[in-house]
């Protein structure tokens, strides 16, 4: 490792984690992962969603206790997880959403836990002076009296880093710090990190942007399915090798070389949207769903695509690429600034879920607990929530009609439940997600829009859910699958990649996962 030459002779690692195992319920989140950082090392931690990155961070910051394995900070065993104070003096994590109190001044935020611990009364003058010293020492140019809420995202991150260093931590984890920064702020952050590095601070840097990783970090650890697949100095690697470690070897989608995939190195928008090779419907058939130049300012722009009957279109991109917003716009949860959405010959207005639903759009929202289910209500009610107008006359809901429809959906999706009257909160995650899908299918939609439909779902339920989506498409509906899971994208006929709110490229099945991930991450192979 490059940093080896820079560290003092009795090299005690800033952090050394050995053989970490962690299981949550049915999922093995981490299997024997190790990690070592020397003082002054910037190491990248890379992996796709669900690879175990956040579990590893939770273990390294003492939020969660490992089932097995040990963590050593500068030669000392890590404190117990019941002592967050001690952890804070050894390691700090800066999350995407900064953990500060917006209404308090920067100085107060710096000393928030300190003045709780040390002093009975707060000496404002001393606190401001010390805050000033701390910020100066670590080269952070922020007014100590400014309310922390008025700082930019980048400044808040620097404030948080300074707070961590002030507490004595010499190991900092940055969890996707650049996702919400603009180009100049990223440069500023990187310059700051390099200063810290020169002062012997070890940094674990998590990012989806591989270019940043190559420009900032010296070493990299790659996780896949809870296992370490790569641990190496970055100078020996190419982006291709990194992606291979993230996605896995070989070709999981049969016949990995497609027309789209056969043009590597091409920039955005290089692959024109082509007519499908052998569509089940004749090309003259109008599209079931036609999206034209759709723009939601700040979220996505000029998005155009079509989905035909029986076709499954995948849309994928990084967090913050605008893919979820696009799905919500199609479902009627968002209004748009420009463009149009046509369902057959109907034009959809946007911003009216009931109208979109009646026009024939079924919607599986992103987060089943936040938007998908009313946990206190029964399975039957949740499954029929969007179609209560069809279950009786004059707006009254006939319990028998509701039960009949719910029972049919329960059988169709294989929902494991004692009775339709059971509260949905009693179900397992997989079965809950099936209820959300049931709600989306209750009106027999012509277009089914799904956002991450199998996230956090067990393997068996995942299979059922996906095969049900396939059946819906086979029955003549168009499916729009918004996802970043390869398993979900594999069943799509085409996959569109969205980056920073623009559709950049289209892959036709069969496609190579590596090409796809490279396009998502925005690197050229």
């Amino acid at each position: 490792m490059r940093s080896d030459s820079e560290t003092p002779i009795p090299a005690k690692s800033a952090v050394l984690a050995r053989n970490l195992w962690k299981r949550f319920g049915a999922t093995q989140a981490l299997s024997g992962v190790g990690l070592e950082l020397q003082p002054g090392e910037i190491r990248a931690l890379v992996g796709r969603n669900g690879a175990g990155k956040s579990t590893l961070v939770s273990l390294l910051t003492g939020l969660v206790k490992p089932d097995e394995g040990e963590i050593i900070f500068q030669g000392e065993a890590a404190p117990r997880t019941s002592e967050p104070d001690l952890w804070q003096r050894r390691v700090a994590c800066v999350y995407q959403h900064p953990k500060i109190v917006p209404a308090l001044s920067c100085a107060e935020n710096l000393f928030l836990s300190e003045c709780m611990r040390r002093r009975r009364l707060v000496s404002w003058r001393a606190m401001r002076r010390e805050a000033h010293e701390v910020l100066e020492k670590w080269g952070v140019d922020i007014d100590v009296d400014a309310a922390a809420g008025t700082l930019s995202v980048g400044q808040r991150q620097l404030l948080e880093i300074a707070r961590a260093l002030m507490r004595g931590s010499r190991f900092v984890i940055l969890d996707e710090p650049t996702a919400r920064l603009n180009g100049k702020e990223v440069e500023h952050l990187f310059a700051h990190l390099q200063t810290l590095q020169a002062n012997g601070v070890a940094i674990l840097f998590i990012s989806h942007y591989l270019e940043e990783i190559f420009s900032l970090c010296q070493t990299v650890t790659v996780l896949r399915d809870g296992q370490k697949t790569l641990d190496s100095a970055l100078q020996d690697l190419t982006p291709e090798m990194l992606i291979e470690a993230m996605v896995g070897p070989g070709t999981r989608v049969s016949g990995a070389s497609s027309k789209a995939a056969a043009s590597p190195g091409s920039g955005p928008e290089s692959t024109p949207i082509q007519a499908r090779a052998a569509p089940p419907d004749s090309p003259a058939d109008p599209a079931q769903l036609e999206v034209r130049d759709l723009t939601c300012r700040g979220l996505f722009e000029d998005v155009s695509f079509e989905a035909h009957a029986g076709e499954c279109v995948g849309i994928t991109g990084l967090v913050g690429s605008g893919k979820e917003a696009l799905g919500e716009a199609l479902a009627g949860l968002k209004t748009w600034n420009a463009g149009s959405v046509h369902l057959g010959t109907h034009s959809l207005p946007g911003g009216d879920v009931a109208f979109h639903n009646r026009a024939g759009i079924g919607f599986v929202p992103q987060d089943r607990h936040r938007e998908g289910l009313v946990l206190g209500l029964s399975v039957a009610e949740n499954a029929t929530l969007a179609v209560t107008d069809c279950l009786g006359s004059l707006g009254f809901v006939r319990p028998s009609a509701r039960e009949r429809l719910a029972t049919r959906m329960i059988q169709l999706l294989g929902i494991k439940v004692a009775s339709p009257a059971e509260p949905v909160s009693a179900l397992s995650g997989g079965n809950q997600q099936k209820v959300v899908l049931a709600r989306a299918l209750a009106r027999e939609p012509r277009v089914l829009v799904l956002i991450q439909p199998t996230s956090g779902v067990d393997v068996a339920s995942k299979e059922t859910l996906l095969s049900c989506v396939r059946q819906v498409a086979a029955a003549g509906a168009a499916v729009v699958m918004i996802s970043d899971e390869l398993d979900e994208l594999e069943l799509c006929d085409r996959v569109l990649v969205i980056r920073s709110g623009h559709l950049t490229r289209e892959f036709e099945r069969p496609f190579s996962p590596r090409e796809l991930v490279a396009e998502i991450e925005g690197v050229t192979l």
Binding site: A331, G332, L333, V353, A354, H356, N357, R358, F363, P365, R370, E371, G372, L373, V374, L375, G376, L377, S378, A380, E381, L385, A386, T388, D389, L391, G392, G395, F396, V397, R398, P399, R402, E403, A418, S419, P420, A421, E422, R439
Partner: protein
């Protein structure tokens, strides 16, 4: 749904059933109270006494109905008690002679009744606008409205009580139909309609969904803002009606009419199993809560216990009810 709910619940312990059904949970308490009442006072079981209980509960019942709707939708309305005062006050002011503190306009009492109800609607529209459109905090908005409306009520007649009201204006509150006060019939009927609506109508179920998870309701195509706004309007309208019945029974409108009633309203709703977090509870349970408080008041009054102690008893009952809820593993209590 009910048939399968029963079949499903046979697998479960009795406790789960009691917790699930807000109404059933209070049945043992009601029975116990009736036994206590019968033992301590021989007049308790007489039909006349029961009519008194029902009549005295009828106004509270309407308020509890109103508040329950708002609570189930996941919101809050404190201003109902001031609406109970202001709405009939404006009506009475319009029909009263200037020498009695009224406007001297001497409007037709039927028009005045319509205006009374309209005042309720207008208050509900304002509440809904501030809370759902401007997204202000429901607690603060309705607390301010409570104070503001009470102030207007006092100011309108300089704190005077309006009496000697036209019979047409007091009819609903004082009439007796088939041996039972009209106000009892009205409250009962509205509860029946409301209960059926909340249980079997799509908008009723939508209100439960909104209170349970507004985001999920929105994603299912329910017009959350509009429907909640309507709930505020209906609640204020019911309060105006409650105020009209109360004035009718008393034959007068005092400037303090309805004062402090909101506490009893919340007490009855909470005892009846309506969740302050929204989305849970049944109107049948709320009725049981009203009856429970009515019977307790009646027993204490018959036993000639000083009225000060009635308030203390109410407070104790709420606490005991909540503790029992928690101990029986009730999900209804606040989490």
């Amino acid at each position: 749904m009910s048939s399968s709910a029963l079949s499903a619940s046979t697998h479960r312990p009795l406790r789960a059933l009691l917790v699930k059904r807000g109404t059933m949970a209070l049945a043992p308490a009601l029975v116990a109270l009736i036994i206590v009442g019968a033992v301590t006072n021989e007049a308790f079981l007489l039909p006349a006494n029961w009519i008194t209980i029902l009549q005295q509960s009828s106004v509270l019942a309407l308020l509890v109905l109103a508040e329950s709707l708002v609570l189930i939708s996941g919101k809050f309305d404190l201003s109902l008690e001031s609406t109970v005062g202001l709405a009939p006050m404006i009506g009475a002011w319009l029909v009263s002679d200037a020498s009695l503190g009224g406007s001297g306009l001497l409007w037709n009492p039927f028009v005045a009744i319509a205006v009374t109800l309209l005042v309720g609607v207008v208050i509900g529209v304002i509440n809904g606008f501030l809370i759902m459109r401007l997204r202000l905090n429901a607690f603060i908005v309705t607390l301010s409205m409570l104070i503001l409306l009470r102030g207007i009520t006092l100011g309108l007649t300089s704190g005077k009580t309006l009496y000697d009201l036209p019979t047409a204006f007091t009819y609903l509150g004082s009439a007796v139909w088939l041996g039972i006060p009209a106000s009892v019939w009205i409250s009962g009927a509205l509860f029946a309609v409301g209960g059926g609506f909340m249980r079997y109508h799509r908008y009723g179920r939508a209100i439960y969904a909104i209170g349970g998870n507004a985001e999920a309701a929105r994603a299912a195509g329910i017009r959350v803002e509009r429907l909640t706004w309507v709930v505020f309007v209906v609640a204020s309208l019911l309060s105006a009606l409650a105020g009209l019945l109360l004035s009718g029974r008393l034959g007068a409108v005092t400037a303090q009419q309805g004062s402090n009633l909101i506490f009893t309203t919340f007490a009855a709703a909470v005892i009846g199993g309506i969740s302050l977090n929204g989305g849970k509870g049944s109107l049948l349970g709320a009725v049981a809560g009203v009856l429970l408080l009515g019977i307790v008041t009646n027993i204490l009054t018959l036993s000639q216990i000083a009225s000060f102690w009635i308030d203390a008893t109410f407070g104790a009952i709420i606490l005991v009810a909540q503790c029992l809820n928690r101990l029986t593993g009730g999900e209804r209590s606040q989490d």
